[in-house]
């Protein structure tokens, strides 16, 4: 069980030593978590809902929530003491654990921010400044990003780069996909287009796992191509990275890498890390909310952006204890999530006569499953309404993606909707059967999305 340190005495937290290397698997002294414990850890989840959307908002076990409350109460008890004596230490501890988990070289390379959206603002603000200060040139310098980049990140690129005069090149991605090569080819083409257009690519923004539609991008290869093609800097947006896919900073080789810990790493909302490879330009990164620590490096700036609740950033040690109660630790969890989501995805595709949106090796803990064409999904509004309908009428929570058919093909038999199913430790096969049965019922009753607009 998680240690029940009495934080109200202020003893246990200050006595925690900073681990040199996190244990990545349960030791003999720690019993593997039982089914009953697991149920109990997620007993606050709505039991009436088949929650197959861990990808959007993540999850947090009860023992970590309890740890968060203890930190909050420690602060509220005597906030001045907390500020002077506990906060910095606690954040450094969390950062050190993350550094080891992602194989960064130095803890200075790891900053903690609210979420990947904030990390994107940090990195893109630096790019905007380069344009303002004349180091990057309007009409010449460009940023490359994937067409399926997350909506907020696209807006951030627009706000920070386009506004400053930078060009933005989008890499179109095919979907459904049959292999990572399709992505690599498109990426190379985009870089060549930039070159032949006389542009210099200053920054490439690459998702590790795209959000919608969700596929695992071959980031290692894309970073290598960027280096070959003299792209200045690469920023990997791995909102879904840690706890979902392999996250090794040396292997991936990006300049900047961000991942949310509240999606697949069991932290409460919200906490993300931003990795920034140590070199001369990394001292140029600033948190946009400027506070006392301005100029002391991003990690220190981010650790104090005015008075707030930093408790979500302080529970990382307790999360590590939690994941180490599972067979194989976080690696074991990832592997089992992947196997299960592929199995369930294939089960659903077989049941509905559809297909997966990408091969299993391009899925991590999420899979895109084609929905029966007869549901008549014709636009983004249809998927939003269908999602609400599934939630309200069937108790199934799953996001859906609209994929417009190629113009030449008649809409009749073509799959135009894909459900993004997630698998996390709290999921059961019943959740996916419930989804299967809900869709079967809709199909059998002759339901189409057109009915939802009335």
């Amino acid at each position: 069980m998680a240690t029940h340190n009495n934080h109200l005495n202020g003893d246990a937290i200050s006595n925690r030593h900073v681990s040199k290397k996190p244990k990545l698997a349960p030791t003999a002294a720690v019993a593997v978590i039982t089914e009953a414990d697991l149920q109990s850890e997620f007993s606050h989840h709505d039991p009436a809902v088949a929650r197959i959307n861990n990808g959007s908002f993540g999850c947090c076990p009860a023992s970590v929530i309890a740890s968060q409350r203890r930190w909050q109460l420690l602060n509220l008890r005597q906030p001045d003491h907390f500020y002077f004596n506990e906060l910095k230490k606690g954040i450094l501890h969390s950062r050190t654990i993350i550094k080891d988990l992602v194989n960064a070289e130095h803890v200075d390379e790891i900053s903690i921010v609210d979420n990947a959206t904030t990390a994107a603002a940090v990195v893109l603000q630096q790019t905007a400044w380069a344009f303002h200060e004349g180091r990057f040139h309007k009409g010449v310098d460009a940023v490359v990003m994937l067409h399926y980049a997350y909506g907020s990140v696209k807006k951030s690129v627009e706000a920070y780069v386009s506004r400053a005069g930078g060009d933005v090149i989008e890499v179109p991605l095919p979907f459904p996909l049959t292999s990572p090569n399709e992505i690599i080819t498109e990426f190379r083409c985009a870089l060549e287009r930039a070159k032949s257009g006389g542009k210099t690519v200053r920054l490439a923004v690459i998702d590790h796992v795209t959000s919608m539609p969700s596929v695992v991008i071959p980031v290692k290869e894309l970073v290598r191509i960027c280096r070959e093609e003299s792209v200045d800097k690469v920023f990997v947006d791995a909102a879904h990275g840690i706890g979902c896919t392999s996250v090794d900073m040396q292997e991936i080789g990006a300049d900047f890498y961000t991942s949310n810990l509240h999606k697949w790493f069991f932290c409460p909302p919200s906490i993300a890390f931003l990795y920034s490879r140590k070199n001369s330009s990394s001292c140029d990164l600033h948190h946009p909310v400027v506070s006392h620590e301005y100029g002391n490096g991003l990690a220190v700036e981010s650790a104090w952006i005015g008075n707030r609740d930093y408790s979500a950033q302080l529970v990382v040690p307790d999360v590590l204890e939690f994941v180490n109660r599972f067979e194989g630790g976080i690696q074991g969890i990832k592997r089992r999530n992947h196997e299960k989501v592929v199995e369930m995805g294939q089960m659903l595709a077989a049941a509905w006569g559809t297909h997966l949106g990408s091969p299993p090796e391009m899925c991590a803990s999420m899979a895109m499953v084609g929905l029966p064409a007869c549901l008549g999904i014709k636009c983004d509004l249809d998927v939003a309404r269908l999602r609400t309908h599934l939630r309200d009428e069937f108790g199934v929570e799953v996001p859906i993606y609209f994929r417009a058919p190629a113009a030449a093909i008649s809409a009749g038999d073509v799959v135009t909707g894909y459900a993004r199913i997630s698998h996390q430790v709290y999921n059961k096969v019943e959740d996916y059967y419930k989804f299967r049965d809900a869709v079967d019922q809709l199909v059998n009753s002759g339901f189409t999305c057109a009915q939802l607009s009335t």
Partner: protein, 473 residues
């Protein structure tokens, strides 16, 4: 919609004054309060009792004199409980919460704030984490105006020398590189009258025109942090308008819950106040009021998300997945303050009277004086420390603070001000006064807290110790 009335300890059934206000005619829902004026006389037969107040703050460290509400604020258990309820609702089914509850909840909080501050339009009210974030938002757009030439290189911005350090750094980060120059107005301290401050400010405005430019932007504290004084913001803004200053930003970090805040009357372009300092919110939430926000096309939250371009209020309501619960509890806070005699007005008055009384008591005991007259303070007051303590640096002041915390279980911030003017500066019988404490008074404080401080300082003096000799471990 969350109904706090399920918890009987939070909602004692009030006796209605008018039939149509009778809560028994319908469930007492949190959103009712969003549409009533929160300054209306609370309808209570049983105002909150002393034991209730003790219970509400029973999570504070016991046996500790916490006389620094000004730094980190405080949050009663009933509001924390409401916050927990919101938090668990999110964790229970976050998608449903996001699509059906979050936006509505934030809008209700914003509407409650709008009524509280007499704003015209709820679109003008945004909720952000804290005043530091609000400063980044406002200063970024000022920086852009310098960068794109709307404000010229020989134009200036003006602020007080004692502006909050984080905000000063923000000005340095966003305005300096964009080309504007910064005029700092020294706050006379100790201060005797509003006129002293207004005179210094006018001189500052003149200095801002030295390069042939204009003063484009003024940042004015409503209540300065250190040293803490209530500034005459209405008069200062009037002076700014007379001088043609384009934008005035009032940093009212301490104001809501300690001084009346009427944004129409104050008439700043931007007004921010933290709700977690004096208005019982949990860490952390602040409001930023922007006059005629619809005309402000270039005001953005620096964390760009899906709502970019839809106005600051909407942008701020979604800056990616985070814990928005501090922004959701404003209606619960109103329920809490309305359990007090006179509501928030009553609380403000009693805090003010109490802190002035205790400040005067301390000054008399130590043979020193107050840093400002009572009418220039709200719920905080600066009290001179005996010169025999020898506060000769910021380090000395910090040593004293740490020593008081560790050895006397007293939390009070300390301030060092070097000698400026031998003719003017305050003295006690032993020399010049260069150190001050900033005492706060909030509803959980008792007179005993301040007597402990009085005795601790007197003890240090009796022991013949000075700041640099004080143990801090």
């Amino acid at each position: 919609m969350i109904t706090l009335s399920n918890n009987p300890t939070l909602n004692p059934v009030p006796m209605p004054q008018d039939d149509d206000e009778d809560p028994r005619n319908g469930a007492v829902e949190a959103n009712d309060h969003a549409h009533q004026s929160p300054l209306k006389k609370p309808r209570l037969t049983r105002p909150i009792s002393e034991p209730d107040i003790l219970q509400e703050f029973s999570h504070h460290q016991q046996g500790f004199a916490r006389i620094n509400n000004g730094s980190f604020g405080s949050c009663p258990r009933s509001v924390l409980s409401a916050q927990n309820t919101w938090h668990l609702r999110f964790l229970q089914q976050p998608d449903e919460f996001f699509f059906n509850s979050l936006r509505k909840g934030i809008l209700e909080s914003r509407a409650a704030v709008k009524a509280l501050i007499n704003a015209d339009d709820v679109d003008d009210v945004s909720l952000v984490d804290n005043a530091t974030t609000a400063a980044a938002i406002v200063l970024q757009q000022v920086g852009r105006q310098f960068a794109d030439g709307s404000f010229r290189k020989n134009d200036a911005v003006i602020m007080f020398h004692c502006a909050f350090p984080a905000v000063k750094k923000s000005i340095g980060a966003y305005i300096g590189p964009a080309g504007g120059s910064v005029v700092e107005v020294r706050l006379p301290f100790p201060v005797r009258s509003d006129e002293e401050i207004i005179a210094e400010f006018k001189k500052g405005l003149e200095r801002g025109k030295i390069n042939g430019g204009r003063v484009r932007f003024a940042m004015i504290d409503h209540i300065t942090s250190m040293p803490s004084v209530v500034l005459p913001v209405r008069e200062l803004i009037r002076v700014c308008r007379e001088e043609g200053v384009d934008q005035v930003f009032v940093d009212g970090a301490h104001s809501i819950g300690s001084v009346p805040v009427d944004v129409k009357e104050i008439d700043a372009d931007f007004y921010v106040s933290n709700l977690y300092k004096w208005f019982f919110a949990p860490p952390a939430v602040a409001f930023l009021h922007c006059k005629n926000s619809k005309g402000l096309v270039d005001l953005h939250h620096p964390v760009v998300s899906q709502e970019y371009g839809k106005g600051l209020a909407l942008e701020s309501s979604w800056v990616g997945n985070r814990d928005y619960t501090p922004q959701l509890v404003v209606p619960s806070i109103l329920e809490f303050v309305n359990r007090f005699e006179g509501g928030i007005k009553g609380i403000m008055k009693r805090n003010h009277d109490g802190v002035v009384k205790m400040g005067t008591m301390l000054a008399e005991s130590w043979g020193t004086m107050l840093g400002s007259p009572p009418e220039m303070c709200a719920s905080m007051i600066m009290v001179g420390l005996p010169s025999r303590l020898c506060v000769t640096s910021d380090d000395d002041a910090m040593s004293l603070r740490t020593h008081l915390r560790v050895y006397h279980r007293i939390e009070v911030p300390t301030y060092y001000q070097a000698l400026r003017n031998e003719d003017r500066d305050p003295k006690d019988k032993d020399g010049f006064i260069t150190g001050y404490v900033r005492i706060s008074r909030q509803i959980y404080n008792t007179d005993e807290d301040y007597h402990r401080l009085k005795n601790a300082i007197n003890q240090i003096l009796e022991d013949g110790k000075i700041c640099s000799m004080l143990p801090v471990e």
